[in-house]
Structure formats: structure tokens, C-alpha cells
């Protein structure tokens, strides 16, 4: 039954769990004694139905189901009230025994909090849906208040995602790794990029994307999200290298760029698929040590994997005054002034109306790349009215972004016209 592949949307889960706990005892009793429970009476005029969902409807795999009850009232589970009860959604199952509490599982979803709608996820194919009203003890009424059993069909193909166009000439490639190369079981794989910029997942940009490394995998379908598993490694924070552990033997590696939604570009920006031979570290030591040394660019300071920089103010889409204080938040790292080399620290850079700069070199210093070299965590800026983009990028003592880069999403703010200053002060 759990393999039903029906997932409750997380907000529903606590409610479902609470229901499950609430009826755990009565169910156990009923099983032991197999006695019929007292059923609450229901008016004959009570009517239960789906809202906006008819028999044989074609629906998407994730849908919101709404319930309508007339002639009765909704009361949360546990509250015994006349002519009242709560909804149950039966998926791909017939009516349960009417003198017993409705089971609580993936096929019988309880809405004990009195909810009148639910977001459910269905696998592609045909499914049946039916509503059943029940009283405070989850026992159906007498006569049962039940909706028509409808069949819905979930399209086999998920809706095609729009693909971001890629500029011609953009390409990704492996740095210092050729087809047929021999690498140790634990090797650093470095990704190169040309003609297109790296932006973290979630940040929409005209000509940007983030790396995906396909290990021993064919190119996935190009019109949808790249899967995320051991064979499809995502580098959603804009990382440009990975330390990869592979068992000895032959393996294939391929890079594929994905846009902000992890969908490959159109045309796809991908490297050729290369074959590598993985050998035990001892024999391969000489080969391995050669590769990183020959790498281009300067060494980047490591950052903790869970470090994140974000805007405390403003938030994405906010409207701000022409002269506003931008406040930065930093999680799992510390702030140090420029020039101070201390592990797990860096200083902020506020990028205004510019794309993410190259991550392997020092951040330029100009009016659009504001350095907070003194360790500041906020900055008052004045912008002309209109739309502007802001992005935060942390960098090390030498102004070079960390690896993986600690950068925020690029947010868009609207600067309101007029010279009035912000009334909100701390």
C-alpha cells in the first residue's frame, strides 16, 4: 500500500498523522472485538461532492481537490456534534466498512482538522476519487454521506517546461580531463565554462546556468528537469569543481548545464561524454597529482557547504526608497575585513545591476560591485527610480569568491520615484 506512490503534500502530513494517532486506539479495539461502532445519524438531504472536478476529467499529477458539503456542518475530528463531521478522501479504493472507523492510510486520507481542500499528487494513469463524510470518531454516518465515485486521468507526460535559450557559442568542458584519462578513486573534477555565465539555481538570468555532472548516465530528456540522484549531480550553488569518489573501473562523465529550474537550455549546453578509467589511488597517484597542479586560475578558499548569504532587507520583488539600507545576512560563516585570511570567513560584495562575475578571479571594484572590505554587514545605497537587481557575493581575503561560491540569489527590487527618505528607522 505505501508503494502507491501517492505523496501527500507536506502541509497535510501532520494532519494525517494526527488523524492516524487519533484513531489508532479505536481501530485496535475494533479489530480485537470486531464490534460495530455506533453510527451518528445524518439527514437524508445531506449532499457531498467535489468542486470543479467531474468524472473522466484529465488532471495534472499535482492537483488541488476541493470538497463541498451541504445539509451538514464541518467539525474537526474528536468533536461530537449533531449533523456534523469531517471529510475523508478515498483514492483508488471502494467504500470501507461503514460501521467501523475509516482506515487511515495512503488510500484513505483524513481531514480531521476540518479542511475542505487538499493538494494531492497522483501518478500518471487513471485513478478513482471518492469523498466520505464521517463523524467525530471517523465512523461514517447512517445513512452514509458519500459523494459520487469519479475517475480522473493523469496525463502520462508531465507538462513540458519552457526551455531557456542559450547563446550560441556557450560551451562547458572538463578542465584537464581528456577522454580515456586515468583518475584515482577520489579525484577532483573541474568544470570549465565559456560564453555563458554561472548563476545559482533559482536565479533566472538571460545567459546563465549551473553545472550538472552526469556519471555513467545517458543524456536525460532535455525538455524537463535534470533528475537529481547519484548519477546526476547538481551544482546548484554554482560550484565549478567536485571531489568525486568512484569505484575502480570504466566510467563515463558528461557535463550538462541547466537553467534556474534545472532544465537544459535550448540548444543544450553540454560537454562531450568522456570515458575515464578509475584505478586505485596507489598506482594513480602520479597521474592525479599532475592534474590539479596544471589547473588554471588561482586557488580559491574553501567555504563550508552549508554557508549561505542572503538579503535581510530588501526581499525579492520589494519596492524600496531611492536611498535604502541594504542589510546582509550570513549563515554558517563569519565576516572578516578584506585582507584577513581566516578559515570560514569572508567579506560581502553587493552587486548592483550586473551579472555574477567570474568566480575564479577577484571581484572587480567599481560602482556596480560594491566592496564591503571593512567587514560591514549593511550598506546604504542610492539608486535611480526603476527596476534594479541586487546580488550578494562573499569573497575571501583577496576578493576571490569561495569554492563553492557563497552567493545569494539575484533579487529584483523596484525603486520608487520621489526623493522622500525611508520613514522606517531603527
Amino acid at each position: 500500500m505505501p508503494s502507491r506512490a501517492l505523496r501527500l503534500i507536506p502541509t497535510l502530513v501532520p494532519a494525517a498523522l494526527a488523524c492516524a494517532m487519533a484513531i489508532a486506539l479505536p481501530v485496535g479495539e475494533a479489530a480485537a472485538q470486531a464490534r460495530a461502532m455506533q453510527r451518528s445519524p445524518a439527514p437524508a438531504t445531506a449532499k457531498l461532492s467535489f468542486v470543479g472536478l467531474a468524472n473522466n476529467d484529465r488532471v495534472s499529477g499535482k492537483l488541488t481537490v476541493r470538497f463541498a458539503i451541504s445539509g451538514m456542518e464541518i467539525a474537526p475530528a474528536g468533536q461530537a456534534r449533531r449533523n456534523a463531521g469531517h471529510h475523508h478522501l478515498l483514492i483508488d479504493t471502494g467504500l470501507p466498512a461503514l460501521d467501523q472507523p475509516i482506515p487511515s492510510d495512503f488510500n484513505h486520507i483524513h481531514f480531521g482538522g476540518g479542511q475542505t481542500e487538499a493538494e494531492i499528487a497522483l501518478t500518471p494513469g487513471r485513478h478513482t476519487l471518492q469523498l466520505l463524510f464521517a463523524d467525530h470518531a471517523h465512523v461514517p454516518h447512517d445513512p452514509p454521506v458519500v459523494s459520487e465515485r469519479i475517475t480522473v486521468e493523469v496525463a502520462a507526460d508531465p507538462a513540458e517546461k519552457p526551455r531557456t535559450a542559450a547563446a550560441s557559442g556557450g560551451r562547458v568542458f572538463f578542465i584537464d580531463l581528456k577522454d580515456g584519462a586515468t583518475i584515482p578513486t577520489r579525484a577532483k573534477i573541474r568544470f570549465g565554462i565559456e560564453g555563458i555565465v554561472i548563476t545559482p539555481a533559482g536565479t533566472m538570468s538571460a545567459n546563465g546556468g549551473h553545472h550538472h555532472l552526469l556519471v555513467d548516465a545517458e543524456v536525460p530528456a532535455l525538455d524537463r528537469e535534470i533528475p537529481s540522484d547519484f548519477n546526476h549531480l547538481h551544482f546548484g550553488r554554482g560550484q565549478t569543481e567536485v571531489e568525486l569518489s568512484l569505484p575502480p573501473g570504466e566510467h563515463t562523465l558528461q557535463l550538462l548545464l541547466g537553467d534556474h529550474e534545472h532544465v537544459p537550455h535550448d540548444p543544450p549546453v553540454m560537454s562531450e561524454r568522456i570515458r575515464v578509467r578509475v584505478v586505485d589511488t596507489v598506482q594513480a597517484g602520479s597521474v592525479a597529482s599532475a592534474a590539479p597542479v596544471a589547473g588554471v586560475g588561482r586557488a580559491r578558499t574553501a567555504a563550508p557547504n552549508d554557508a549561505a548569504v542572503y538579503f535581510i532587507y530588501p526581499k525579492d520583488g520589494a519596492t524600496i526608497f531611492p536611498s535604502s539600507t541594504i542589510r546582509f545576512g550570513l549563515r554558517n560563516m563569519g565576516v572578516a575585513p578584506a585582507g584577513v585570511a581566516k578559515p570560514n570567513t569572508g567579506h560581502h560584495h553587493l552587486l548592483v545591476d550586473v551579472p555574477t562575475p567570474g568566480l575564479g578571479e577577484p571581484i572587480p571594484s567599481d560602482l556596480n560591485h560594491i566592496h564591503l572590505g571593512g567587514g560591514q554587514t549593511e550598506r546604504r545605497i542610492t539608486l535611480p527610480p526603476g527596476k534594479h537587481t541586487l546580488q550578494l557575493l562573499l569573497a575571501d581575503a583577496a576578493h576571490v569568491p569561495h569554492d563553492p561560491p557563497v552567493m545569494s540569489e539575484r533579487i529584483t527590487v523596484t525603486v520608487m520615484p520621489g526623493g522622500r527618505k525611508s520613514a522606517r528607522r531603527r
Binding site: I312, L330, G334, V335, A336, P337, T345, G374, G375, Q376
Partner: protein, 150 residues
């Protein structure tokens, strides 16, 4: 540097804060040379705010105006590192801030910290320390706020 209305307000706030019990102790002998903060320096809470009800485990986010953050031990002009004082008053201003459960040092330059507190009312206060953990002169500190852990 332009002195704006904002920084004047900041100065006012800072001087109000230190006008309390510190004035008296300030005239005592001062062993360590204390750093002068830049004008308008102000440390404040982004979260939580005074009077807020918070869960047992929450993140304290710290804002700092007109100054920078530097890890402890790094001597750099116009910088300091944060200390979170929980249910305690600041010690003598000329002394390094003690390090214990009530005086949480953010010595790596952190600007936020996750704390877990038992249920009930608690007071929080921010105090900036220089590279030797000694408060500036005058001290850069926030108002003492009271929160309710539910």
C-alpha cells in the same frame, strides 16, 4: 564622511544606552586601552525584537551600523566582533567580556547565532568587543530586550 540625520539618531541611541550604570564605573582605572568606535556605530537586533514570543530554538540575527565585523584577534580599524549577552548585564567596560553560557562570543565574525533557551522570559543584549574582546569606549551595544520563550 557625511553625518546624516540617521547617524545622529544612532549616536543619540548609543549615548542613551550607555548613560546608565556605566557612567559610574567608567571613571575607574582602565587597564586596557579601549578602542574608539566610529561615529554613529550602532549594534541592533534584526531578530528577535523586544517583547517577541519565540520558540525554544531560534536564530538571533545581528545588525551593525557604521562599523564592520572582524573575527576576534584581528586588529582592524572600525571593526569588532559580536557578543550576545543572555540574562546578564555587561561586566565592567574596561575588562574583556567573559566567555561563558551567558556571554556568547561570536569570535569568527558571525552575524547570526542559533540559541536554545528554556521556556520563560529572557533578556538579550548585544555588545561589540574589539580584537581583545574588550568593549569599545563608549561601548557599542544594543538595548537590552526581553523575549518570551514559548
Amino acid at each position: 564622511m557625511r553625518i546624516s540625520r540617521r547617524s545622529v539618531a544612532g549616536l543619540l541611541a548609543a549615548s542613551c544606552v550607555m548613560a546608565g550604570p556605566f557612567w559610574a564605573t567608567n571613571v575607574l582605572a582602565q587597564p586596557a586601552k579601549r578602542q574608539k568606535p566610529p561615529p554613529g556605530a550602532l549594534v541592533y537586533f534584526h531578530y528577535p525584537l523586544d517583547g517577541l514570543r519565540v520558540p525554544e530554538r531560534f536564530t538571533v540575527r545581528i545588525g551593525l551600523r557604521n562599523m564592520g565585523v572582524a573575527p576576534a584577534g584581528v586588529e582592524h580599524a572600525a571593526t569588532g566582533h559580536h557578543h550576545l549577552l543572555i540574562d546578564t548585564d555587561p561586566g565592567p567596560p574596561g575588562q574583556p567580556i567573559p566567555s561563558d553560557y551567558n556571554n556568547i562570543h561570536l569570535g569568527n565574525g558571525q552575524t547570526e547565532v542559533v540559541v536554545t533557551l528554556p521556556k520563560g522570559p529572557h533578556t538579550l543584549q548585544l555588545l561589540l568587543g574589539d580584537h581583545t574582546h574588550t568593549p569599545h569606549d563608549p561601548p557599542v551595544m544594543s538595548q537590552k530586550i526581553t523575549i518570551y520563550v514559548r
